[in-house]
C-alpha cells in the first residue's frame, strides 16, 4: 500500500511539470501585450520609447527559454514570482482571495450535499414514480440553468423588491458571521444548485446500484424495516461514489466561480483568473493555472488513495 501511495505521488510530478510547460507556452502565444494594455488601453497618449522601456523592465524582451528557466528556477524554490500587473507577489495575490473563494466553495458544497443526498435517495427509492421524475427534472434543470443568469435574477429580485443588495466588500466569517453570510450565501446558492444537481444524479444512480446488490435483497427478505435498510445499509454503501463526485467537483468548483464571481462582484480566485487573462498578466496566469491544475491533480490523487484503501480488489502495482 505505502509503495502504491509513493509511486502514485511521484507520478504527479511529471504531470505537474508537463502542465507547467504547457501553461507557459500557452500564455506566450496568447496575442496581446500587458505593457500595451497597461499604458494604452486608457486612451491617453504614450510614446513608443515608454512602451519599449516597460517591456524591458518586465523582462519581456528576454528570449523565451530564458524566461522559462527563470520561472522554473523560481518554482523549484517555491517562488512563484511577482504579478506583472500589480508588482505584488503572486502568492500574496492568491492568498488574499483564497479565503473568499474557499468559503464560497465550502458553502456551495454544504448546500449541494444537503439538497442532493436526500433528493437522490428519494428518487432512487421511488424509482419510476412522479417523485423520481420531479427530482430528475429538478436536478437536470440545475445543470441547464446558467448559474450566472440565476445570479442576475437574484440580484434583480433583491433590488426590485427589497431595495437591498448583498454587501460588496468581504468580511471574514469570524469577524462578523452575519455580514459574511449575507454576502456569500447567494452566490453559494447559485453555484450550489448546479453542484447539487450533479451530486443528486450520482446519489440516485449509486443508490440504484446498491439497492440491487445481494445483501440488500437479503435484508429485505429477512424482513428488516425500510428505514434501517435504506439508511444503515444502502445509503452508507452508496455514499462512497457520491462523496467522490462531491470531492472532485469541489476541486473543479473554480470553473463555476469564474462567472459567478463576476456577477456578484466577488473578489475571489475566479475573478482574479478572468482579470489576469484579460490583463495578459503572464506570471499571474501561470501561477493561477498551476494552482488550479495542482488542486485537481491532488484531489484525484487523494481519491485514488482512498479507493485503493477501501477496495481490496485494486492491486497496488
Amino acid at each position: 500500500m505505502s509503495r502504491y501511495v509513493v509511486t502514485r505521488f511521484l507520478l504527479m510530478i511529471p504531470t505537474l511539470l508537463a502542465v507547467a510547460v504547457l501553461i507557459f507556452l500557452l500564455v506566450r502565444v496568447v496575442p496581446g501585450d500587458i505593457v500595451e494594455l497597461r499604458l494604452v488601453s486608457g486612451g491617453t497618449y504614450v510614446t513608443k520609447d515608454v512602451i519599449q522601456a516597460e517591456r524591458a523592465r518586465l523582462g519581456l524582451n528576454k528570449p523565451i527559454w530564458n524566461q522559462f528557466v527563470d520561472w522554473m528556477v523560481g518554482l523549484v524554490r517555491l517562488d512563484f514570482g511577482v504579478s506583472m500587473w500589480s508588482g505584488d507577489k503572486i502568492t500574496h495575490e492568491i492568498a488574499i482571495r483564497l479565503q473568499l473563494s474557499l468559503e464560497l466553495a465550502i458553502l456551495a458544497t454544504i448546500i449541494a450535499t444537503v439538497l442532493a443526498i436526500p433528493l437522490g435517495t428519494l428518487a432512487a427509492v421511488r424509482r419510476g414514480t412522479w417523485i423520481d421524475q420531479a427530482v430528475q427534472l429538478f436536478s437536470v434543470a440545475g445543470l441547464a440553468v446558467p448559474s450566472f443568469w440565476l445570479g442576475i435574477l437574484m440580484i434583480l429580485f433583491f433590488l426590485t423588491y427589497f431595495d437591498w443588495l448583498p454587501p460588496l466588500t468581504f468580511t471574514p466569517l469570524w469577524q462578523n458571521p452575519a455580514a459574511n453570510l449575507a454576502q456569500l450565501i447567494w452566490p453559494a446558492l447559485a453555484v450550489g444548485y448546479r453542484y447539487s444537481a450533479v451530486a443528486a444524479r450520482m446519489t440516485r444512480s449509486a443508490m440504484l446500484e446498491v439497492l440491487r446488490e445481494d445483501y440488500i435483497r437479503t435484508a429485505w427478505s429477512k424482513g428488516l424495516n425500510r428505514p434501517v435498510i435504506l439508511w444503515r445499509h444502502a445509503l452508507r454503501n452508496a455514499l462512497l461514489p457520491v462523496t467522490t463526485v462531491i470531492g472532485l467537483e469541489f476541486a473543479f468548483l473554480i470553473g463555476g466561480l469564474v462567472v459567478t464571481e463576476q456577477v456578484f462582484n466577488l473578489n475571489g480566485i475566479g475573478k482574479l483568473i478572468v482579470d489576469a487573462i484579460s490583463h495578459r498578466d503572464y506570471t499571474l496566469i501561470q501561477g493561477l493555472m498551476l494552482l488550479v491544475a495542482a488542486g485537481y491533480i491532488l484531489a484525484n490523487f487523494i481519491v485514488d488513495i482512498v479507493y485503493a484503501w477501501l477496495d481490496p480488489r485494486i492491486s497496488y502495482g
Partner: protein, 539 residues
C-alpha cells in the same frame, strides 16, 4: 486665487449666495445646496478598475488616479468649477516671462508631507525631473508631453523655475495634468521607484488601507495645508468592474457615486428607483470613438472608399438615437465640440460626412464605391474592443449604417489585448479606436494623428509630413486665432481630405451621486476627478 477659498471662513450669507448662484448655474438638480459645508463622514465611491501601480508618473489610467489622487497634490491644477482655468495647488502664485520661456512658481509655505516633513521647491523639482528627465530604468508616461522644457530648477526653497526651449501656449494647462503628483525629493533620491508601491504625499487624505480587488481607503490628513479641509473624515474607493454591479452598489446605498460616469440606462434606473435622493450631473466628456483604417491594405488604401465610408454615417441621427442608450452624444471633429479650439458647426458641416442631408451623402457614397470598383455587398471586418459601453453600441451602429450603403460588415469584438495587438501589427481592415484625455490642448489632442514613426497610437500606418509640420507649427503659435487656423487645417486634412480617421461621436458624461454629496461639479474628464479636498457630505 482659488474660488473655493471663499467657502472656508466666509459668512453664511455669502456662502448661501454663492451656493444659490451655482445652483442656478447647474439647474434645479444642482450639486450645491445653500448649506454650510459640514465636516465628517466617509465618502464611498466606485472605481471601475484597479490601479496597476501607485505611481502616477508612470501610469496612464484613471483607475490609478481615482483611489490614490487624494493622497497627493499637484503644482497647479484645473479649477473644476471653471475649467479650463488653471489655479495653484502647491503653487501659491506664478509669473510667466514676456517671451513665454520662463515660468516661475512660488511654492506654498508650511505644506507638510504625511510623515511630518516640510515640502520645499526641491520636492517639486525632483518630481518634475522624474517626469521630464526620468533616470535610467524609470518610466515616465508623459515625458514627451514636456519636450519643450529645457530645465527645472529650484533657486531657493520657495521657488521653482521651468525654463522652456520655445514658447508653448499649452504649457500651463499641460502642467495641470492630474498625473503630475508631487513626491518627496529625499525619497526619490534614495529610490526612484519607491512610489510604485508606497504612498507618501501632502494630500488631504492619508493612506488607510488597500485590499487588492476590493477597496482602497484613506483617512483625513489633520495637518492639511488648507485650513478646515478636507471636510470628509475619510473615503473608500470600491473596485467594481461590472456596470450592473456598479448601479446596484449605488442603488443599495453601498456607494455614494462613481466619478467615471454611467450609461443612460443606469442613470434612468437610479432616478426611477431613488427619486430625489440621487442627483445626476451631465456634461461633455473629452473622450471619443473614431474609426481608423489600415491605409496600407485594400480597399482602404483608396481614398474614395474611405470617403464613401465616412459619408455613409448619419452622425446627427446617430447622436440622437445613441445618446439614449450609450454615453455618446456630440458630433464633432478632432477638437472636442465647444472646446476653445473646436470648429464652429457651420465650418464642421463642410467636412465630408458632416452634412445633415444623409440621403444625398449616401447617394454620393454609393457612387464613390462604384467608382472605386467596390461591388454591392462588399464585406470587410471592423475590429472592435469587447468593452460593452460604449464600444458595442458604436460597432452595432456602424454596421447598421454601412449596411445602408450596401456594405456587409463583419463586426469582431476582441479582448483589449488582441485588439491593441492587431492594431499595432496592422492586422486589421478597419477598427473602432478611441481616445480619452484630460486636457483640450491641441498638443495632446492632435498627437495621435502624427505620422506613424512619431505617434505610438497612429495605427493607420500612414506617413504625412504635412500633418507633422502643422502639428509642430501650432505647438509654437501663441496667437490663439492663428493657432486655431492651423488646428482646423490639420483636422480638415485628417477627417475630410485624406480621411485617415472618422470621428463617430464624442462621449457624454453622466455622473450620478447621492444627494448628500456636495461640493462636486462634473468636469470634462474623469481623469480630473476626484479632488476630494472640497467635497462634503450633508447627511
Amino acid at each position: 486665487m482659488r474660488r473655493n477659498a471663499a467657502w472656508g471662513g466666509a459668512p453664511w450669507r455669502a456662502v448661501a449666495l454663492l451656493g444659490l448662484l451655482l445652483a442656478l448655474a447647474v439647474g434645479p438638480a444642482g450639486p450645491v445646496g445653500a448649506q454650510q459645508p459640514r465636516s465628517g463622514g466617509t465618502l464611498n465611491y466606485i472605481v471601475e478598475a484597479e490601479p496597476p501601480s501607485f505611481d502616477a508618473h508612470r501610469e496612464t489610467t484613471f483607475a490609478m488616479l481615482h483611489p490614490i489622487r487624494p493622497h497627493y497634490n499637484l503644482l497647479v491644477k484645473f479649477d473644476l468649477q471653471n475649467y479650463p482655468k488653471v489655479v495653484g495647488d502647491l503653487a501659491a502664485s506664478w509669473t510667466i516671462s514676456k517671451d513665454g520661456l520662463t515660468y516661475t512658481f512660488k511654492v506654498r509655505q508650511g505644506v507638510k508631507f504625511h510623515d511630518g516633513s516640510t515640502l520645499t521647491s526641491a520636492d517639486v523639482k525632483a518630481s518634475y525631473d522624474k517626469i521630464i528627465f526620468p533616470p535610467e530604468g524609470v518610466i515616465s508616461a508623459r515625458q514627451t508631453t514636456y519636450h519643450m522644457v529645457k530645465t527645472v530648477t529650484a533657486p531657493d526653497p520657495q521657488t521653482v523655475v521651468f525654463q522652456l526651449k520655445f514658447a508653448s501656449p499649452g504649457f500651463l494647462e499641460n502642467l495641470a495634468s492630474p498625473f503630475n503628483w508631487i513626491y518627496k525629493a529625499e525619497i526619490l533620491a534614495r529610490d526612484p521607484r519607491f512610489y510604485e508601491r508606497n504612498i507618501m504625499g501632502t494630500g488631504p487624505f492619508r493612506f488607510g488601507e488597500y485590499v487588492r480587488g476590493s477597496h482602497w481607503a484613506g483617512r483625513r490628513n489633520p495637518d492639511y495645508f488648507v485650513q478646515g479641509r478636507p471636510y470628509l473624515d475619510g473615503y473608500r474607493a470600491l473596485f467594481i468592474g461590472s456596470p450592473a454591479a456598479q448601479v446596484a452598489a449605488i442603488r443599495s446605498g453601498q456607494a455614494h457615486m462613481t466619478f467615471r460616469g454611467v450609461a443612460p440606462a443606469q442613470r434612468d434606473e437610479l432616478t426611477t428607483s431613488l427619486g430625489d435622493r440621487i442627483v445626476i450631473q451631465e456634461g461633455p466628456w473629452l473622450c471619443n470613438n473614431i474609426v481608423i483604417f489600415n491605409i496600407k491594405k485594400k480597399p482602404f488604401d483608396d481614398i474614395r472608399v474611405r470617403k464613401a465610408v465616412t459619408l455613409g454615417i448619419d452622425r446627427w441621427g446617430g447622436s440622437k438615437a445613441l445618446s439614449l442608450i450609450a454615453f455618446l452624444g456630440p458630433v464633432g471633429g478632432i477638437m472636442r465640440p465647444a472646446s476653445p479650439f473646436a470648429m464652429k458647426t457651420d465650418e464642421l458641416a463642410k467636412l465630408a460626412g458632416y452634412n445633415r442631408n444623409i440621403r444625398a451623402a449616401r447617394e454620393e457614397a454609393r457612387k464613390l464605391l462604384r467608382e472605386a470598383g467596390i461591388p454591392e455587398g462588399f464585406s470587410f471586418t471592423l475590429q472592435n474592443r469587447n468593452v460593452q459601453m460604449p464600444y458595442e453600441p458604436v460597432g452595432v451602429f456602424l454596421v447598421d449604417q454601412w449596411r445602408q450603403i450596401g456594405l456587409n460588415v463583419r463586426h469582431v469584438q476582441s479582448e483589449t489585448g488582441p485588439y491593441l495587438a492587431n492594431f499595432r501589427a496592422g492586422n486589421f481592415e478597419a477598427g473602432v479606436d478611441f481616445s480619452c484625455d484630460f486636457v483640450d490642448d491641441p498638443d495632446v489632442q492632435l498627437a495621435k494623428f502624427l505620422s506613424a514613426d512619431l505617434s505610438a497610437v497612429n495605427y493607420g500606418g500612414y506617413t504625412d509630413r504635412q500633418l507633422d509640420l502643422w502639428y509642430f507649427q501650432q505647438a509654437r503659435t501663441s496667437d490663439k486665432a492663428k493657432r486655431a487656423q492651423i488646428v482646423h487645417q490639420f483636422e480638415k486634412r485628417v477627417l475630410s481630405d485624406q480621411i485617415y480617421a472618422i470621428y463617430v461621436l464624442w462621449w457624454a458624461r453622466i455622473v450620478p451621486h447621492w444627494r448628500q454629496v456636495r461640493g462636486y461639479k462634473i468636469s470634462i474628464a474623469h481623469h480630473l476627478d476626484p479632488d476630494l479636498q472640497d467635497i462634503w457630505l450633508s447627511e
